[in-house]
Symmetry: C2
Subunit: 766 residues, 2 copies
């Protein structure tokens, strides 16, 4: 509000240059020549092209190293980086950009993932692009069971998961439903664009301040690119103005570092909004779903094929396919499951992590089909779900026991919050009213990145203040508040005594990244354990001074008290007793390591450190003459394990659900022959407060997890997952016979469906 | 060399203002009014005067809170701060300064400390100035035994030390010598002037980047002044361009912070060189020395009275008097000792810490007298010293056992390096040659600040790199190199793997300050212990992985090896075995707490964590027609305990000795009626390479100390202590009958002495 918070876009350094980029205007082309002769005449301009990548590994990526720092042989989408210019001011940089002459040889391009897999399709990547590819940034590496290894033509990556015997399952089913559902790619629309400021302190020592969710991964990737030790790279993260996954893994950091290396000056680059739209997207996807059920509504077998549109570079798609294969069948006990997940290269901007990590596209499919099945079977949609939902202590598909399963509570809560529309039994053949209402609901399951590690180092000062060193990123989700609460509670001091440092890889310890809703669970728990260690040291000091047993002491209100007495010792006095003066520090540290998942190289055993469960229900009102619809009310229930900060949990839930509304109602990137048509907030609206109903019920379910701090689980993504299918189900409820199978469901799509020209799955709206 | 190192003077921030000061032109005056009406009309000018101190404690100081942030009721020396202006540029600030109108009422002033103690002297401080005085920054607090407590008139502070019975001692002496020796105040002349950049992140949260040797003390003092918790103040220290004690304790930080608070903008203040001369000095001093000896040269009794010229504010004078009282009798076993140390307020710039901390002034006295006594007794000066020097394991005056006593080795080394001048026995009555030579030597003892505390937190990363968090300041002395060596050795990795962080009180742990030659001994030892803790954790991990006993493992060349085999495990692999991936960190921390000294509130028991011993010898050549003299050769021997980095030890020794040459030959602040006459490097020369002889022998003696890392002791100050008396003794040797008793010994003083008009002790040169 006051402008006091410094974001990466606000940083300034003496001698700092600013940057602009030259990007490809072709979706696929060979780069024949780049002539910078005239551009170099612009005073002060420093130009980075493929000719400046000597001494670097030139390509990066969290799993496959397929993304060049700047274009080398080819460009692969409209917006692919060709050259970057640093100059004293943006006008000079723009002038130099305009004087760079690039000769391209246009190549055939492909935009649809299924077309990209045809033998006739142009191939984006040469196999030689992958020879040095071994993941530096992520745990997914070729060779993990269930993961097919290196790309094959345009098939970037695949994962297969199986449990039971689907052939046998389908043979025993009374009814089989088979449909395809799809989602357009969408954009993260974080308020702060990508921004980074880099400088080299010497030829082998890089400092970069950047708006990232992933400082340690950025560090290891930059070390890989520039062939230096990881400790030679210092990544400092100021407050981040939103991320939603769009700032995971290196993004603009490699090119800014390369430009600063050439300029021998600090260089800052802040993307324009149009460039943000070209930088990363949420995967467009199509999901083919075949489900066998018994007459009484028990799910027997499910076969899932997910095709993600990965865009031009692999980015984190390999993890998306590997992580989601075991959850693609939904939160239901199904004896026979077979899942294939694929990500495919196309000549579009790369797709990567986005709140929900590829799960919302799948939930959209199975929860839409669930309502269709309920309708076909004549069963209440809530009852159909309830009959099949996982329960506490159930064995999951992977064989592991499920702890903390709050999904039925979530479902019941939203079902109660948004009751069915009361209407007469007969609607077929009746004249349709202009404004009709419908109610829909959906629920979901999601895993968290596993294994992962978080380290915390906590320092107690003589004045009773705690400094918390950890590398989670405050991106507006309230991370610093949670950590302060945990540390204050663990020691027994007031919240104001705790300061949580911002990430700085030279200073704050390792963390696997602000992703997968994991921070409270892992960093929070690490801080709790580290602080409990300090508490023990402090009590020992006090016990010595007061000559009592340590167990007789409690810490309350910033003081140490002998239990049941008025004898107190201030924290400064405890330090004075130990160190001669109120000086010195006490340190505690802890590593939280979640195990299982792909560390086993198999899908058997523990797949996820904790599970996210959620449900949403909505009531919609549709104008049957225009297709325009609005949300009348919404309820979103998330299982948080334990709400350490209920206000923040509600805000996370509401914010996530609102992003779900955007994806359902309005968001979708539109391309024409690879050219982006709506790369601005004028043509690409995101939900405003006007799109959110006043009746917005956020419900927190608490099914505690034994490994989380105080039982807490992550909540960053849960609220998003079930919203779109709940809305789709509500539209289907309002409009009998209408089933939209592609996201977003813009009014024009509803209108078309009402007119009998139903939108086809996977077909992009015009 | 490349300009890549950023000092505080180099820092820039967006929106930053720069500052200039209005200082008193009178040595002592009441401030009747300050009118800023016209100054405020300068666009952008923010003016800080006494009217802006509301909400602060308004006065500070490491022991007594007698120094106002800006002048309140009075000014007390020429250069005392009256107002400070922040503005967009220095020209605007200067313009505003020129428009501030101050009305003074001149008061009588006093410049000589002994005169300042006369009943007729004007009194600088009102007793009310001390009512809130309790040390926040230092361990010295009123009430410690041997320390007289609050100031009494102009007598700022006194300390008395006694051992044996001097009356009895003198009664038993064969000869008694009594003389007075003096030193002019001098300036630190650090290359980088004082500089600080402060901003407030909110009303209760201050960040200050400053060129200080004392981040934690600056933190606690700023918290005291602004009435916030210490943890609300963040002190960040970039590389410091020299300090020599001149940047200990708060200096310009309080006023920069107050100005930034008023401006609500970042404010940077960099002093001009002239202002540096007005900011802090080394105490001028006069030392009255009475020594009783036996006929055969055993020292029986010594009475010492030291009067330090403290200048206008107490600063750290209380510690100077308290710490030096027990060492004022020199490195000699003397049964009967009585010492009185005083610091006195005068209307001159405040005096404070300076390499040697008040000891060089005392060594100047006792080592000059030692040669006079040797001459009078007809004993060789080396033999006289040898007969009386402390030996390993001796009991010190305080009763403690002395460990690591290398003083005789130092003396012997320099005596051998610079042999006596070969000359015929008879010189009296001979015609004096134009160029004559003499040889002199001296030795010394110094204690280190005790008690003190240093904390280190060390982090091992999976790539085998170590991050060392500690709050010592790199001021050019090589601190970071020493810490890197200690950490690398303790773990068994190469030096390049270690990074030592710069101090940042939010990040790096407590340290008592870069002072008193203590960093290697305390921070070095803390880093060693913390790293050994990490080593144990790493070996445990490796032992688990390799299935061997931990004791069978060694760490060599960045690898873990099974002793006597070729079986090795890389550090990344050890992390992978423990954390599933090469991720995570190992942490170690340690507190080194030196005990004894004033923590006991008494001079009995351990007085110093370690002792500094040194000796110097020189050969001089004097032009008897002009008094001009030059050093022909010099040898300086310091007892380093153990030379962790011999090159750096030699550089410290040579640098310190060179400062000793400056104080002996040319340095001395000259005032006339309180007006400084030589506040620039034109009129105040410091030694250049031309003043240093080519034949400069640095000798490292290693008398290991049981508590230091690898036996090391501090060496930052030792080389300075004995140089001036060695030179004085050489001049006396060259010029029979000439004994200069005031520093510096400029050629004009030598000439005057040769002409029979010997410079009187304490008399300032014209």
């Amino acid at each position: 509000m006051t402008g006091a918070v410094q974001y990466a876009v606000d940083l300034r350094m003496p001698g700092m240059l600013v940057a602009r980029a030259l990007r490809s205007h072709l979706p696929h082309a060979r780069v024949l020549s780049i002539d910078t002769t005239r551009a170099r005449e612009v005073p002060g301009a420093v130009i980075l092209t493929r000719d400046d990548l000597a001494g670097t590994r030139s390509r990066f990526g969290p799993v496959f190293k397929d993304q060049p720092v700047v274009a080398i042989d080819k460009v692969r989408f409209v917006g692919d980086l060709v050259a970057v210019v640093a100059a004293e001011d943006l006008d000079s940089a723009d002038e130099a950009i305009s004087l760079i002459e690039v000769e391209y040889e246009a190549l055939p391009a492909v935009f649809d993932p299924r077309e990209a897999l045809l033998p006739s399709a142009p191939i984006l990547h040469d196999p030689a692009d992958f020879v040095d590819g071994s993941g530096t940034a992520d745990t997914i590496q070729p060779g993990v069971e269930g993961f097919e290894g290196f790309p094959d033509g345009n098939l970037c990556c695949s994962a297969h998961f199986e449990s039971g015997d689907t052939a046998k399952g389908f043979a025993g089913a009374d009814r089989i439903f088979e449909d395809t559902y799809s989602c357009d790619p969408i954009q993260h629309a974080h308020l702060e664009p990508h921004a980074a400021l880099a400088y080299w302190e010497g030829p082998g020592s890089l400092v970069i301040h950047c708006s990232t969710q992933d400082p340690w991964v950025v560090r290891s990737e930059l070390a890989y690119i520039f062939k230096v030790e990881p400790s030679a790279v210092r990544v400092i993260v100021p407050s981040v103005g939103g991320g939603y996954g769009g700032k995971l893994y290196p993004r603009i950091e490699p090119v800014v570092a390369a430009l600063a290396r050439k300029a021998r000056r600090p260089v800052q680059w802040v993307l324009t909004r149009e460039e943000v739209f070209m930088t990363l997207t949420r995967h467009g996807a199509s999901v083919r779903l075949k489900t066998g059920v018994t007459r009484d509504g028990r799910l027997i077998a499910r076969q899932v094929e997910v095709v993600y549109d990965g865009g031009a570079y692999a980015e984190i798609s390999p993890r998306v396919v590997v992580q989601n294969a075991p959850v693609a069948a939904g939160p239901y006990r199904i004896p026979h499951v077979s899942v294939d997940c694929h990500a495919v290269y196309t000549n579009k901007p790369p797709a990567g992590a986005f709140r929900g990590f590829g799960v919302p596209q799948i939930v959209w499919a199975y929860e839409s089909q669930m309502d269709d099945m309920a309708h076909a079977l004549g069963v209440d949609p809530v009852e159909l779900r309830r009959k099949n939902l996982y329960q506490e202590g159930d064995a999951y598909l992977t064989g592991e026991r499920l702890d903390g399963v709050g999904v039925e509570q979530c479902l019941s809560a939203v079902a109660a919050a948004i009751p069915p529309i009361a209407r007469s039994g007969v609607r077929e053949g009746q004249p349709r009213q202009r404004l009709v209402r419908g109610r829909g609901l959906a629920c979901s399951i999601k895993s968290t990145m596993t294994p992962s590690n978080s380290v915390a180092s906590v320092r107690l000062d003589p004045d009773g203040s705690l400094q918390v060193l950890a590398s989670g990123v405050e991106i507006g989700q309230g991370y610093t508040t949670i950590l302060a609460q945990v540390a204050a509670d663990a020691l027994g001091v007031s919240l104001e005594r705790v300061r949580v440092l911002k990430p700085d890889t030279d200073v704050t310890p390792f963390d696997h990244g602000t992703k997968s809703s994991r921070l409270t669970f892992t960093v929070g728990e690490a801080v709790r354990r580290a602080t409990i260690d300090i508490r023990g040291q402090l009590l020992d000091m006090a016990a010595d001074k007061l000559e009592v047993a340590r167990d007789d002491l409690v810490i309350e209100h910033d003081q140490i008290r002998v239990r049941g007495t008025n004898v107190v010792l201030g924290i400064p006095d405890a330090f004075k007793a130990r160190f001669g003066l109120p000086v010195g520090n006490l340190y505690g540290d802890a590593v939280v390591q979640t195990t299982g998942g792909l560390a086993h190289g198999t899908y058997r055993g523990k797949d996820s450190a904790f599970w996210m469960w959620s449900a949403a229900a909505v009531e919609v009102e549709v104008d049957t003459q225009t297709g325009k619809w609005r949300l009348v009310r919404i309820a979103s229930a998330v299982d948080v394990g334990r709400a350490i900060n209920p206000v923040q949990c509600h805000l996370q839930n509401e914010g996530a659900a609102t992003m779900g509304i955007g994806a359902a109602l309005m968001e979708g990137l539109v391309h024409d022959g690879g050219q982006p048509l709506n790369s601005s907030f004028v043509s690409y609206p995101v939900p405003s407060m006007e799109d959110v109903p006043q009746d917005f019920q956020s419900v927190l379910v608490e099914a505690p997890h034994p490994d989380g701090p105080y039982g807490a689980k992550g909540v960053g993504e849960s609220g998003l997952l079930a919203v779109a299918p709940a809305i789709g189900n509500a539209l289907a409820d309002a409009l009998p016979g209408v089933r939209l199978r592609n996201l977003p469901m813009r009014p024009a799509d509803v209108f078309a469906a009402l007119s009998g020209a139903a939108t086809q799955p996977g077909e992009a709206p015009r």
